[in-house]
Symmetry: C4
Subunit: 286 residues, 4 copies
Amino acid sequence: MDPYPRPGTWRERLYIIIFHTYTPAGRLFDTLLLAVIMASLGVVMLDSIQAIHLRYGSWLYGLEWIFTGLFAIEYLLRVICAPRPRQYVTSFYGFIDLLAVLPAFIALLMPDAQYFLVIRVLRMMRVFRVLKLTPYLSQADFLMVALSSSRQKITVFLLAICTLVTMFGTFMYVIEGPANGFTSIPRSIYWAVVTLTTVGFGDMVPKTALGQTLAGMIMITGYSIIAVPTGIFTAELANAMRSATLQRDCPRCQKPTHEPDSSFCNRCGNPLFPPTEKSQPEESAH
Amino acid sequence: MDPYPRPGTWRERLYIIIFHTYTPAGRLFDTLLLAVIMASLGVVMLDSIQAIHLRYGSWLYGLEWIFTGLFAIEYLLRVICAPRPRQYVTSFYGFIDLLAVLPAFIALLMPDAQYFLVIRVLRMMRVFRVLKLTPYLSQADFLMVALSSSRQKITVFLLAICTLVTMFGTFMYVIEGPANGFTSIPRSIYWAVVTLTTVGFGDMVPKTALGQTLAGMIMITGYSIIAVPTGIFTAELANAMRSATLQRDCPRCQKPTHEPDSSFCNRCGNPLFPPTEKSQPEESAH
Amino acid sequence: MDPYPRPGTWRERLYIIIFHTYTPAGRLFDTLLLAVIMASLGVVMLDSIQAIHLRYGSWLYGLEWIFTGLFAIEYLLRVICAPRPRQYVTSFYGFIDLLAVLPAFIALLMPDAQYFLVIRVLRMMRVFRVLKLTPYLSQADFLMVALSSSRQKITVFLLAICTLVTMFGTFMYVIEGPANGFTSIPRSIYWAVVTLTTVGFGDMVPKTALGQTLAGMIMITGYSIIAVPTGIFTAELANAMRSATLQRDCPRCQKPTHEPDSSFCNRCGNPLFPPTEKSQPEESAH
Amino acid sequence: MDPYPRPGTWRERLYIIIFHTYTPAGRLFDTLLLAVIMASLGVVMLDSIQAIHLRYGSWLYGLEWIFTGLFAIEYLLRVICAPRPRQYVTSFYGFIDLLAVLPAFIALLMPDAQYFLVIRVLRMMRVFRVLKLTPYLSQADFLMVALSSSRQKITVFLLAICTLVTMFGTFMYVIEGPANGFTSIPRSIYWAVVTLTTVGFGDMVPKTALGQTLAGMIMITGYSIIAVPTGIFTAELANAMRSATLQRDCPRCQKPTHEPDSSFCNRCGNPLFPPTEKSQPEESAH
């Protein structure tokens, strides 16, 4: 699959360094990129603290320019050395990489626009791009399989949660009323979410006896039904991890995989390990 | 089971559209119904916000009439085209559908009655009626099997929770007393529920050293026993998911469950559906 | 085991009614007892509400006498009809039953003593005595098996929690100090319990940047390690539920139980279901 | 492994008492050590309470000296009787034991230094040194196996949590802004951790409708993804518990795990330890 199996030109060598991790130079590049991403995130955060902004605002402003420059250079290098530049630019990762460059330019043109902060923080997603190449993420794949196979069940669960909080929120609005801080149904639903998820900020609390009784029921509901997504995900994950079938061709019909404890082929009924054959065992059950 | 296998008359065609989803028209009808339900919910919520009520109250009042009219028309159509109208009217869904119409009429006659809000929000349950017909809900059935088979265990668990909060609540009432906000045993029990379920509003907090020690024990109890409903549900769900196997006792060794496509028992090698017995195989793969 | 297999005298009939549930009269007795227990609990709770105490205090006082009288009569009847009265009086349940009578007498002699409240609420434990006889509790047995077999693991877990909260509490005391409400190490440990268990009252909160960083770590720790007791209990419960072995005497060595999917006896190596024997299957695998 | 198989000299007898638990004297030593550790912890805690410090400060000061003296004597004894003193001193436990002595000396020289409190509390870790020798900790080993085999998955999970709280925190900072208490991005991230972990102190709460909506989404996210570490750990623990089986590849069919007392493979009926091969069976039942 590798478009440059034996790198010769500088473009090919650059491609290996920037897009792959398996060479020391590639690993160094990824580490540096990670450091720059984290540093640019740190600048965004420090700049949001009033005291630091007043004192070092211009320094951080300068740093932001430097990081943006680095990201721009990186983006250009990626476009230059990619085997099919157009394909890279229009790909998901190409978009993410461009996103790291653009917002700073826009934000510098219109420096008051707080909302560009969000895009600057989106740079953090590039961390996953870099880590994608490490062995850790094979584990994430595992989680993804379990999550995606329980997707439907989780959708049903979230729908049920939404219904519950709407119902409970309306009930509390009717019971407690604006006098006790439940000023509208949406605000009461917000309270119901806070309570059902066992967060419990305490900015709104029921004051009436009936409201406290209903609140108690909501809490016990929330406390108990947390079992549902946990159960769903655990069961799916256990399934994903248990994918251990017996790898052995049936001597008669050649069916290659069987349940882990099978003695007979469940398609043709032949013994999988006939007692007469004295041969060396060649297959192993994982 | 379908009462009109080959729809001819307009009543029959209407029945297919309103009660089923498998035709494009039926799917459209369900989507529209869902939109109207959500819109009527939105109106209830917006109307509860003081500022919006003062400004757009009469508009929302009008919209409520329109939605009620639509639900009334829908209810009449359902009664007209149902193969057995009386059976539909007295059924659970017939009741839910009627509920969507009545409250608005009553609420419009007595517009101050806040309590009709609750019934108006109950319309939300119709969402499940509509979604019932989508493939998603086969997943909900799955959850229901697991939930209903762990019903008894969950009842015991809830009973234990009730006993714990009553005990802890009384202890805290005695230890902290009205001076620290624990003004009565029911209120202290409410606090115990808030604490045991790890919600922790903070509207009542223990002030004495002994009270804080007991509170710490309640919290650790609540934090730990959340494992119980989770464990119960996970184990039941894993059971329910494992039952997607071929349920057929092997004629020789009685092994009850097999892989879905088995022809022979993988324990004893016997044919699961021996050719000599000439009956149809009653395999039931769930 | 039943000491009166064919009840004849009134004492024997009374024994059946009071100590057993399997006759209609016995079931009625248990239901009444449950109602009296709940009513006496209700009186304790209502009496703790200031407004009700001032208005109906003397009525509730009278009701307490009546309930105490009923419990006293019940206790006497139990002593009279028990086959071995001395054994009953010294048993655990005899003590619980006596506890239901004594506190009220003492509390009436010294009516200010708030602490007797606790003993009055302990009557609630009699609910379990009554329910013990219902099928529900066979499920609780199930839970008890799982809980007791994970007892050691849970002890280790609780020990780790105690160490964590002591460490974190001391760190926070040093970082935040009395100025921010962390007035002593025990109080800081209380805060650490509130935070680690994700209760989060909000009566004490970190104010310094370092304190908030450490608090964030405590929260993520608490949020994550909730997986530990849940995992322990789930795995144990799954074990307790899976006790499904193959019940089949080995034709050669007569070993009676095998792993669910065994084809051969793992003690003597003989096929459990030899192909030559054409007999009817007599055993079933549960 | 025991360096003194038949203790004769006083050094050898002391070694057995101090480093081992299997003699009554050794058990007594460990119990006393545990008591001294807990007492020294208690002194640290009591001393941090202002009222007690003012009244009994000098007493607690004296007690700290005594405990330090005891730990110093213990440390000297350990160095003297250890078979290889240098190896003990440079070992992990040697360091922990020294740590119990040093801080008090330093703290007494500079009594204001609050930060030495932390080191004094680190003595608590010695509790684990003492308990290490009890059977309970074999259970902790169990947990450790499960935790360490799910380490990678948990790292991925924590990384995802960090990304989520950074994103959500920035969004909330932009939406709510300093006027509503979200004074900087780091503080908003702190709030996001408090909310996502369902702790919910309530010291910062969203005030705007959009902020409350996003907060509700954060809460439901936090409430749902708690399933992920729980599922991971449960599946791993179930695996770790299931490994209490006979690990031996069947010579013919290679089935790798068997019931602990198996002589024959229950899949193919082959002897697991055939008599012809005259080697000792290397069965290893974990």
